[in-house]
Symmetry: C2
Subunit: 195 residues, 2 copies
Amino acid sequence: MKTTKNEILNTALSVFSQKGYEGALLRDISDSLGITKAALYKHFKSKEALWNTLIDYVEQYYSEHINSLSNIPIPDNWDKLKEISLKQIEFTLHDETVKRVRKLLTIEQYRNERMSALATKHFITDIESRFTKAFEKMIEKGVLKCTNPELLAFQYTAPITMLIHLCDRESEKEAEIMKKIEAHIEQFTREYKTK
Amino acid sequence: MKTTKNEILNTALSVFSQKGYEGALLRDISDSLGITKAALYKHFKSKEALWNTLIDYVEQYYSEHINSLSNIPIPDNWDKLKEISLKQIEFTLHDETVKRVRKLLTIEQYRNERMSALATKHFITDIESRFTKAFEKMIEKGVLKCTNPELLAFQYTAPITMLIHLCDRESEKEAEIMKKIEAHIEQFTREYKTK
DNA sequence: AATAAAAGTTACTTAGAGGTAACTTTTTTG
DNA sequence: CAAAAAAGTTACCTCTAAGTAACTTTTATT
């Protein structure tokens, strides 16, 4: 029973992330599931209810995803920082669900307070706090010039986030974009590494 | 005659940027203009036609805006860079049309090739190229450590762009966000300034 | 001032999306 | 296995947004 609901939510995520709330039709979702539109109403009492449940689902998926990241050791040197960054970017760019969540947040971020808060959390706060920890550790270890680790984390992650969004729009340029990301990481390392 | 059409386009920009293409109703636009929906059809043969004209209009407005920027002298030292950056950010954050264009591009960037290209141009390419020129000049003058000016321009502008988007979502945090922007600029200056 | 074009109105059609009711099939479970 | 709950179907209703036609008012133009 939970499986059916989950299948619906996955399909809904796919459709909503492509067409947005207003553009998405319940028929798109039901067709894509191979059931009739009316069958959806056995699980959700309205389009709005489905939407709200989807946001719950996204929030939950996302926090699980973030929690799983906190199991990964925090990098404490430049090589590990690069390695973990690239691995994370790779995942983020190719995992279908994560991609859909990102698109959905992007196109629906002005719909309501909840979407807006989720977008900020997803695109800025959480990433920043993860890398702040890394930079704090690196300062402690003396491999990073002593500065404000939070600001540095933002300066490190914001360009990457921008390029990930660019890749969502123009996926054919992925190789080029990955090169730019690497160049950014290398320049950042060169500049802030202690000698 | 051109004025009426322009008024319609301005109103359409306002409505579409708040509700997106699918969510926006022709009634929203006509009501907001104080005319009937049918009157709109004297100027545009369909919603889609109005939309396409709006994108033309946005493209044109935008390129004029960019051209007017090219009259401003390119900064060639750190103080001027900061000054011009902040002035530009101030304008960008408060000019209603620019704000609407930004929101529209954000929420409709996946609709078609045209919107996607415009988003990349608006959010990345054009800003980058402007600041690349500034950094090239500053390297020439010897006030900026010799590095890749294009990469640097991206690293300088991307965090600012991210914070502008944040401000669009959470305008009540503007003061805080402006502080963060200044901190970013100062940190960047401190790091790349030749001594 | 006369008249033609532009801009607007009212009243309508049409299509399609959300949503419901009544019935059937499938799945669970005592 | 029987029955009840879940999941699905068909056929419908309703509402509303896009779009049109016929008519009126406003605005330019000679």
